[in-house]
Symmetry: C2
Subunit: 343 residues, 2 copies
Amino acid sequence: MAVITIVGAGMMGSALAFPARENGHEVRLVGTHLDREIIDVCRATGRHPKFGKDFPEGVGYYQTEQTASALEGSTFVICGVSSFGVDWFGSNVLPLVPAGTPVLSVTKGLMDDEEGGLKNYLQVWAQMCPQACLNAIGGPCTSYELVAHDQTEVTFCGSDPAVLRMLRDCMKTDYYHISISTDVAGVESAVALKNGYALGITLSVGVNQRVFGDDVLHYNSQAALFGQGVREMKKLIAALGGKEESLAVGAGDLYVTVYGGRTRMVGILLGRGLTIDEAMKELAGVTLESLVVATRVARAVRKRAEKGLLKLSDFPLLMHVDDIINHGAEVNIPWEKFTYERL
Amino acid sequence: MAVITIVGAGMMGSALAFPARENGHEVRLVGTHLDREIIDVCRATGRHPKFGKDFPEGVGYYQTEQTASALEGSTFVICGVSSFGVDWFGSNVLPLVPAGTPVLSVTKGLMDDEEGGLKNYLQVWAQMCPQACLNAIGGPCTSYELVAHDQTEVTFCGSDPAVLRMLRDCMKTDYYHISISTDVAGVESAVALKNGYALGITLSVGVNQRVFGDDVLHYNSQAALFGQGVREMKKLIAALGGKEESLAVGAGDLYVTVYGGRTRMVGILLGRGLTIDEAMKELAGVTLESLVVATRVARAVRKRAEKGLLKLSDFPLLMHVDDIINHGAEVNIPWEKFTYERL
């Protein structure tokens, strides 16, 4: 039996308590300072306030001030903070993790720098805490569907095959299927980028509601954007040092995100003609990681293009999303720019 | 002004009359022997019986016995027959097309042979009619959405760049966007394969209706199958001599087909637990190209595997679809077989 400590009691971190505990491991769910009420509810009811189902019997719930004791004796630690908590986790939790204890992160995203560099969160944390054993989960998995035991396939990535095998063996169930890969750059880039591109694809849903009415759902335009998203993601994964083979992880993840909640909502609102400020107001209180990743990646791509390292014309969908969310542009999907000649 | 003759008055061929005629070309829509009533209706009403919108003014309608005169003076000929009419088109229409007149086909599929070979329809026709100038349309495009002017992006493929440019210039509109590619093997393989894989993905919709009830729609499992479909298609496209870059065409096309009509219907019925015979009965009269392509490709893959040219274990989704539709297997999606180690 392993001891699995999950830091961050948001939906995704909390959902991982299900396979972990169902496999008979000791599971400690630790809230951050933002999760105080969630932990209170979990303790009182045995259920996460956003889930439709009780946690498996025996999960332990911890408030943030109990983090150090919860980490003690852990076989590994799952990081379930949102992408807005990446620095916080690196500064406040990672230093408490005993050397050699693996960390498995579900937090997805990229950080850009002045030079047009883009780091995934494992790279960010490795700089903050060079001795940490860092791994991550990528692939299509919405938390509430995992809780419902919908069949789910993900990829665990990291640099040490033995650690990846241990993590997989602890977490796999008959509904949670786990591949393992050492292509951290590829998997982490793919699953971060998909948030930005899902927003791009769902623009067309909103545009079509304007053009054809709310009841008509067309797929040609969504599929055109999906294909373009895959093409741009492929180029970006390569530019970030990832391997081609991880594109399929991104394609599956893009598929599920188009139908997911928050990113789809903002894409549709923008497509309907709301400005980004109006859309943000409408979705008040909702964390919009898709906006963050699209902004950062677009900023890095523009810098790299200035240096002649890549061509902006290879990323018309990303550029349009960036123009809408950061530069006041109206939605006007540049369909012709998606076409190409391969002769 | 060009003269564009469309042979086959099914939905896809007929839909192409819209961009063609809206661009001011002379358009001749020619029914096959199976389309007699459709042509009668078009002549009487100016509307295809399956479309919710009239044809643009001025389209000419021809019965099958007028094929030769309709072909006369054509700038190019669009082949809009179903995949069950491929031999018929090669034997009866291609010989009537004047030498040098390009043909642009929307018919998608692959034919296998005793040796495990798989030919796309351009290759089949090239054997029947070596002097023909053959081109094809790939990419995500459902006919009724094209008719509705949903934004659509497709790829025209063929061997002659000048011909591809001419075809594009005649057909492109502000809603029908056209890329051109000489990777015929890649584009044609991708868009044929997607029918088989869309069936595999939609199995999970039916399975989930059984497990969770009709009202619950989960995407984790669909996305897992989507990712697996992309991985298997990538390997097959390479095995058929296609270029990697055409995978995005297949991914977009796969996306739209999962939401399309017939293939989705059969996948869901099988997923619910119907046998293939029961599903076929339920869908009586519906042409199921997905079953044909899955069967042929699986047969070829098994033969190639016997010869040691590829590994069956790389295609667990295709094998399962084949087992269900051709070998009496029950739906039992082999989730663990989709996982991998890339270390």
